[in-house]
Symmetry: C2
Subunit: 242 residues, 2 copies
């Protein structure tokens, strides 16, 4: 019987692109930088998978995502020729952008409803520190913080899903992974977890809404692969608690 | 600057003795067992420190407290000649008593207030699974679940306090340990954390209220040793947020 739902967070529960762009814009405005803050957010996020892959492949020991974001910030500031505008304190502060991400409108009501009957927790690549601060910023009512820090590795490595189930003392079959990304669900499913897909057509901005390769289209084409598909966390709660 | 408060839980935040006795009584009533359920609760808790000590001393690898409680349940059932009354399923169910502990009356309002300005998290020897279910039972509004599971060891080993700070990416000086037990605070203080003592004269029942050796008296005698002493979590919140 289903006991817990664990969530991908960046893209699935919160709108990282708008949140990072808003923080970048705050700095750009003060410093008179004309760069599109969404382009900056996309570039910063673009470094995400390659950096984690070094950890997943064993070429680097586990370091929390906060540190990878901080290193990647240096890379993208250099790329846009903005290094001279940001001193060390600015960089530390801007790096906290990843803790200030707005939840999608259905996330808080959906999690609040699900929390009545189930344990709800993030199973994100973000650290406990990052997820805890993000939850306070956006009012995400998590019961516990699981994910990469618990496992000392990054999704989609199987130990992240299994360590999260184990921390709750639940069998994978009692836990449902909820994500907007088919690859995340494939990995959770391979570990024996239940799966729910939530399309997030605006994750990468309006220009990706009609991209046939985007996750929201790919996931919908494969909807029979998941136990549930729902348009929002709130609708998933309605389905599971009906 | 203070950013987070981490809490001892058994005794400090919840009344383990009443909660375990209530669950034991529920079984005893059904099975026609005449034993005082408080005596049973005290005996079960009595096995707590010696079992953890084997882990702390390195004589046994880390196992979550749920499993130690379960093993200790067998020991105390044998001691009271009750083994024949409890089959395997009964024992699993009774072991969940440790997740059904009532908060002291000030705990939920106090934590709710503190959560406005600080990160609040358990730093208990209970597992993530145990603490998560207890929080749902009693409405404890934790921001994250820290403690023994994060460190793979038991308090008062220093790694438990340090791993909890580290998981939040905070320096020990930015974190306050809150406990009803002087030994717990001594260990946290030695790691550089701030400390707050909350006396809980009823932790071991009314007959211990006047015991001069009990923690609530010992801690009050040493009140200059802690950064703060407060009669309740609610009063601690009032002091810190004044």
């Amino acid at each position: 019987m289903l006991k817990a739902l664990i969530f991908d967070v960046f893209g699935t529960v919160v709108d990282w692109r708008s949140g990072v762009a808003a923080e970048a814009k705050r700095f750009f405005d003060v410093k008179g930088i004309g760069l599109d803050p969404f382009e900056f957010a996309d570039a910063w996020r673009g470094e995400y998978q390659p950096t984690m892959e070094r950890v997943r492949s064993g070429n680097r020991g586990y370091v929390p995502l906060d540190e990878l974001h901080r290193e990647n910030l240096d890379i993208v500031l250099d790329r846009f020729d903005l290094a001279g505008y940001f001193d060390a304190a600015d960089r530390v502060e801007l790096n906290h952008a990843w803790e200030k991400l707005p939840p999608w409108p259905d996330s808080v009501p959906g999690l609040t409803a699900l929390k009545e009957d189930f344990i709800v927790a993030p199973c994100s690549n973000g650290s406990i520190a990052l997820m805890t601060r993000m939850a306070k910023f956006g009012g995400l009512p998590w019961d516990a913080i699981l994910g990469a820090d618990i496992a000392g590795n990054y999704k989609p490595r199987e130990e992240v899903y299994l360590a999260s189930c184990n921390a709750l003392r639940l069998e994978p079959s009692q836990v449902m992974m909820v994500a907007a990304h088919p690859g995340d669900l494939d990995a959770a499913k391979a570990c024996g977890l239940m799966t729910a897909f939530i399309p997030r057509p605006l994750e990468f901005g309006p220009s990706h809404e009609n991209d046939p390769q985007a996750d929201h289209h790919a996931g919908m084409r494969r909807r029979d692969d998941w136990n549930y598909t729902a348009e929002s966390v709130k609708i998933l709660a309605e389905i599971l608690m009906a």
